[in-house]
């Protein structure tokens, strides 16, 4: 229980200004850093989903999830281990175009790592790779000697294996509030 483990916290929220601040303040108050963060539209119109990756004890992540869910505009918050989710990160790599033609092995690297070339211009080209952290990292390390002009990696996006049932939760809220 007291071991630190990587947890993915999924938060379904209303789309309100300031909610990101409210959620991050819960972590700030407890001196906890995010490993990664991303937010997007969810499967339900007007409902947003935050995906936060943290390294915490299970007791800690359980308590913080309760504190998040307590916020008025939060519909539901869950935490999961890596085994319970399907997750990916996306990375972009900007490399000088000259190296693409002069260093043939770059083309092999792209092919071997299942990366895609997004754009090519006379000065640079951009590669995209989606996968686990170690895979995007491996490609970054491989490309580094050829002069990476820019590198950026997204936060984790994750989908749970179990059913989330947010529509049912929203319906039950509406029902309870009617009572």
């Amino acid at each position: 229980m007291s071991e630190f483990t990587k947890y993915t916290i999924s938060i379904y929220t209303e789309n309100n200004i300031g909610l990101l601040n409210r959620v991050s303040a819960i972590f700030l108050k407890r001196h906890i850093n995010f490993i990664s963060f991303s937010t997007s539209q969810s499967e339900i119109p007007d409902v947003f989903r935050f995906i936060i990756v943290v390294s915490m004890t299970e007791t800690g992540v359980k308590k913080i999830t309760q504190q998040i869910e307590k916020q008025i505009d939060v519909i539901k918050a869950y935490y999961h281990t890596d085994e319970e989710t399907i997750f990916q990160e996306s990375a972009l790599y900007k490399v000088k175009s000259s190296s693409l033609f002069e260093e043939r092995q770059i083309q092999n690297m792209i092919k071997d790592s299942h990366a895609n070339i997004v754009t090519v211009s006379p000065e640079y080209f951009v590669i995209e790779k989606t996968g686990f952290r170690d895979e995007t990292e491996e490609l970054r390390e491989a490309l580094a000697p050829y002069g990476l002009l820019q590198f950026v990696r997204s936060g984790r996006i994750s989908i749970t294996k179990e059913k989330m049932g947010i529509s049912e939760i929203l319906n039950s809220f509406n029902q309870q509030n009617k009572d």
Partner: protein, 567 residues
Amino acid sequence: MENQANNPISGAEAVIRCLLAEGVDLIYGYPGGAIMPIYDELYKYSDDLTHILTRHEQGATHSAQGYARTSGKVGVAMATSGPGATNLVTGIADAQIDSTPMVCITGQVASHLLGSDAFQETDIIGISTPVTKWNFQITKASEIPEIMAKAFYIARSGRPGPVLIDITKDAQFELFDYSYEKCKGVRSYVPTPTLDPKQVEAAAEAINKAKKPMIIWGQGVILGKAEEEFKAFVETSGIPSVWTILGLSALPTKHPLNFGMVGMHGNYGPNVLTNECDVLIAIGMRFDDRVTGNLETYAKQATVVHLEIDPAEISKNVKADFPVLGNCRESLAQLTSLVKHEEYAEWKQLFADHMAIEIKEVINGDTLPTKDGLTMGEVIVGINKYTKGDAVIVTDVGQHQMIACRYAEFVRSKSNVTSGGLGTMGFALPAAIGAKMGAPDREVVAVIGDGGYQMTIQELGTIFQNKTAVKIVVLNNDYLGMVRQWQQLFFDKRYASTEMTNPDFVTIAKGYHIDAQRVSKREDLDQAIETMIASDKPYFLEVCVEKEANVFPMIPTGASVSDIRLK
């Protein structure tokens, strides 16, 4: 639903109409540039809505808190943008940690100036986010009715708390068609979890097996308006009951099953026996560290039943073996029908035995002193004598607060107003103003230390202007007494910045035309308290007490509740 279609009004007027629609007749605040349109409407509506001008915005929040605590209604505080708004923050944080229903309204610079570092612009939404139950910035007048309705609903429902609404100046001026509908629910928010009868049955079963059960109740009993249900549960079960500082007054002091206070300066028996009970029944309390001492050694032997409205409090600090989620008014009623009555005679005798020790070692010295210096305890006993336990006692933070809560007697609920969780010095004087206005027929006595008193002393002006008949007792030891006590006990008497050279408090009170006297001799005390209580006007009494007295019992930080010290 109030409908005024085809008759546009300003956002500022809408704010006032919303307040009236929510049943608000009294607000506290301080005007300034960005909230002037609302103040202009207050002028027009002054017959319906009373505005109390405090002398500092912090005073407005604490007054609103005091009002909420004695009236059971939502307190309202108002301030301008920038410094006006930031001055509210301490009171908001206090209301958040003590679950006090409060709506704060702040003016904001015009929406086209947001983010431009305009005059008196501050990001009060950002600043107040961690200390509010909810907050929202309004930039269009048409948002006002729905957001105001939501603000009051959120502040008062479930576990109550503070809500801040920030309104840009252009939204206050903007005209729109006003209509108001009360908020009946927010789709992402369940204020009160639905009670699960299975949880109640499981809790009852655990309680019925107990040989040495103990109830610790907190403010949830008062906030849930569950005093009757709580008393019925205590009497039906016969279980000895003890309170947290904010639970104080929910059960009369002299009730035969009221065995005192838990926590750092609580009673000896309740603390020691927390580590001996077999079933601990926590009702509307949150196991604050000042209650539990070292969690590693807290009630490890006990089965814990926890009646609580806020799911985030379940197993937050102490693992609940039998959680019962819901409003305790409802859960207690069900639980009462399932518990058996026991006398627990031997178990209660243990409480009595510990009390006998505490009386001999601590209480006699505090309340029946034989040494020269006046004690804080004998002042509280004197107040009890003349109020007969029927007063609202408002306290600040420190030694006087602990002594007042230990010795003040109460015959009815909503009578103890103090800053519990945040420990806000400066709380008591403005809170007493609100407490008196929230319960105008009751005697309100503010007991304050000389340190905290000077943090919000300017509110004497509010008392004078409004003729608010609060009784102010300053227990003056010329020290920041609690910090000095810790310096004595844990920092080898290095009294760093705790000694105070105080002004003539009586002269200051008289400057505000408040009747005042100072007592420094035991033979003058009784008469002085009698005179103060007999007055129907504001009254100030300074009692010069023993300078270096300490509050005991005491659980040192990090120690176990069972290691409570008597000296």
